[in-house]
């Protein structure tokens, strides 16, 4: 990647008392990337985000924003970040306009730039109709949008969004996803979420964090390739013979599954045609022949569930 590195995080640790919330997390975010942060509840997603945005001090490790160390020059580093925490930090007593102008001032947006900045953020987040309403009277979805508007208001290089689509209706979710993709073109975005399709729809890179550690980090394109799978699932009416299938060209090995089913592993090109022809000639009666697609969900569950039980055991032991 020769794109500009916006965030550089190295060996980040964070302890709550003796409990490690984040352990040895290192990653980078480049311009034009949308990084999806996945993980089960309490995995350390929010903690990591709070550290990046300077709301929480790391126990150890280094965070560089735009090449500026967050601890050395917090003001300069924070200027490049827009942050939407889990709970939108809105003042319920203010109107949307008052609030956004206040945020613009806090982010040191120049006086003559405030008006355009606020109206652009409002327009992007679909807030144009509610500018004079009290935030406290708005629905959760609108409050969330005000939170997002606040995060992108000062046009920061990096936008950190902690579960941005929580509480939104499907239409709004689609709008926000489009907005995120659009922002991703000339910003760097970190997005945390539980919703896996959201990651697949919006992100260019995925990281799964589990029990404070990064367990998975992959570019979306690469992931797609991996997920595309290298196996076929075959189901027939009559019992099938594994040996016959094994002989077919392009098939590495065959695992028999229960009930006239088999998984056929292959390396490069799918041998579906040959398999179908074989089944037909043997008269087994083809019921199903499908590509065994691994979903992101499976990856997620594989990575986070297997030692979740181990975690429970140690928890019980302690």
């Amino acid at each position: 990647m020769d794109a500009k590195i916006l965030i550089h995080v190295e060996q980040l640790y964070r302890y709550y008392g003796h409990h490690p919330a984040v352990e040895d997390v290192s990653f980078e975010l480049a311009l034009g990337e949308v990084l999806g942060f996945l993980g089960p509840n309490g995995a350390g997603k929010s903690t990591t985000m709070q550290m990046i945005t300077g709301n929480l001090a790391p126990s150890a490790g280094q965070i560089c924003i735009n090449g500026v160390d967050l601890l050395d020059a917090p003001g300069l580093a924070k200027a490049g970040i827009g942050y939407l925490p889990e709970q939108p930090p809105v003042y319920r007593d203010l109107t949307v306009d008052e609030y956004l102008y206040y945020c613009a001032r806090l982010h040191r947006v120049a006086r003559n730039q405030r008006g355009p900045c606020v109206s652009r953020a409002k327009q992007r987040c679909g807030l144009s109709g509610v500018d004079r309403r009290l935030i406290g009277n708005l629905s959760k979805g609108y409050q969330q949008r005000v939170g997002i508007a606040q995060a992108i208001l000062h046009n920061p290089a990096i936008v950190v969004l902690d579960e941005p689509t929580v509480g939104l209706d499907p239409n709004q979710i689609r709008d926000i996803r489009n907005l995120i993709r659009e922002l991703g073109e000339n910003h760097g975005i970190i997005l945390s979420t539980h919703i896996l399709p959201e990651v697949q729809a919006t992100c260019s890179r995925v990281q799964i964090i589990h029990r404070g550690r990064l367990v998975f980090s992959e570019h979306m394109a690469e992931l797609e390739r991996r997920l595309a799978g290298h196996a076929l699932i075959l189901e027939t009416r009559a019992p099938l013979e594994v040996e016959t299938l094994q002989q077919l060209p392009g098939i590495d090995n065959v695992t028999a599954l229960a009930g006239n089913r088999a998984r056929l592993h292959f390396d490069t090109t799918s041998p579906a045609e040959a398999v179908a022809a074989c089944v037909a000639s043997q008269g087994w009666g083809l019921v199903e022949l499908a590509l065994d697609r691994q979903t992101l969900e499976q990856v997620f569950i594989d990575l986070t569930c297997s030692d979740a039980t181990a975690g429970n055991e140690t928890g019980a032991a302690a």
């Binding site: 964070r14 709550y16 903690t47 945005t53 300077g54 709301n55 929480l56 001090a57 917090p74 003001g75 300069l76 924070k78 200027a79 970040i81 942050y83 925490p85 889990e86 709970q87 930090p89 809105v90 003042y91 319920r92 007593d93 203010l94 206040y102 945020c103 001032r105 806090l106 982010h107 040191r108 606040q150």
Partner: protein, 250 residues
């Protein structure tokens, strides 16, 4: 940036009925007191006329009014300062300030300035009553100014202590009660009589009230001003430290 936060804080106060009710109630109480003081003065005035160097209208009306103002504000100021940080913490809006490119010092000073501006406004409104006496008589202007200066310094101290207490807890009521407790303690600390003169001297110095007395007598001394300023500075520094430390402990 400090000013931005200060003005927001001040405007926020006026968005809720709290600020308005405090201004109204205080004005009412002080007006009552002011009028009764004037009544007393009108009664004793003929007798005072005979005595040389007798206390004038400033001593009889203005000074007691200012003194009582100080005490009443001691009870009211916790209600004003209690929500400064605890509300922000409870509503998770502190994140907004923390993620903005502002230092902790600017945040605390901004909040402090906002509350102080409100107190000054309050004081300005209350001082209209003594000033109205200028219509019928002449006052000891120096004494009045000294008293107002003393009260302003006192209120700054109240604000700083209240802000610190508010930074300690997420519960506004807890913040209010602890502020009130500490202020009362500082007010009555020199009431404890003792044989040891060093100890009573120390308590006398620590008392937040004795220093006000000097101002009300018309004595503007750096000792008393320094006492209030030091106390204010201490609690502001403690608030900054407290918020910084919160980033570490989470």
């Amino acid at each position: 940036m400090i000013l931005t936060i200060a003005l927001r804080e001040l405007k926020n106060l006026f968005l809720s009925p709290l600020a308005w009710s405090i201004l109204a109630v205080l004005q009412l109480i002080m007006a009552w007191l002011f009028l009764s003081q004037i009544d007393i003065f009108a009664m004793v005035q003929p007798r005072l006329a005979g005595i040389e160097g007798a206390p004038g209208v400033t001593d009889f009306v203005v000074v007691p009014v200012l003194q009582t103002t100080g005490f009443i504000l001691l009870m009211i100021s916790p209600a004003l300062t209690m929500r400064v940080f605890s509300d922000e913490k409870r509503n998770r809006t502190l994140t907004l300030l923390m993620s903005a490119p502002i230092s902790m010092t600017e945040i605390v000073l901004g909040k402090f300035l906002g509350i102080t501006l409100f107190f000054l406004l309050l004081l300005a409104m209350l001082s209209l009553m003594p000033l109205s006496l200028y219509a019928g008589t002449s006052l000891d202007g120096g004494k009045l100014l000294a008293g107002l200066l003393g009260l302003s310094l006192l209120l700054m101290t109240f604000a700083a202590i209240g802000i610190f207490m508010s930074s300690l807890t997420e519960q506004p009521v807890v913040a209010a009660i602890s502020t009130f407790g500490l202020l009362i303690l500082l007010w009555i600390i020199d009431w404890s009589g003792g044989e040891n003169e060093k100890v009573t001297g120390l308590f006398h110095y620590l008392s937040i009230q004795t220093h006000l007395e000097y101002f009300l007598k018309g004595l503007v001394s750096t000792t008393d001003a320094a006492y209030y300023l030091l106390l204010t500075l201490t609690f502001l520094l403690l608030s900054i430290r407290r918020l910084d430390q919160q980033r570490l402990t989470g």
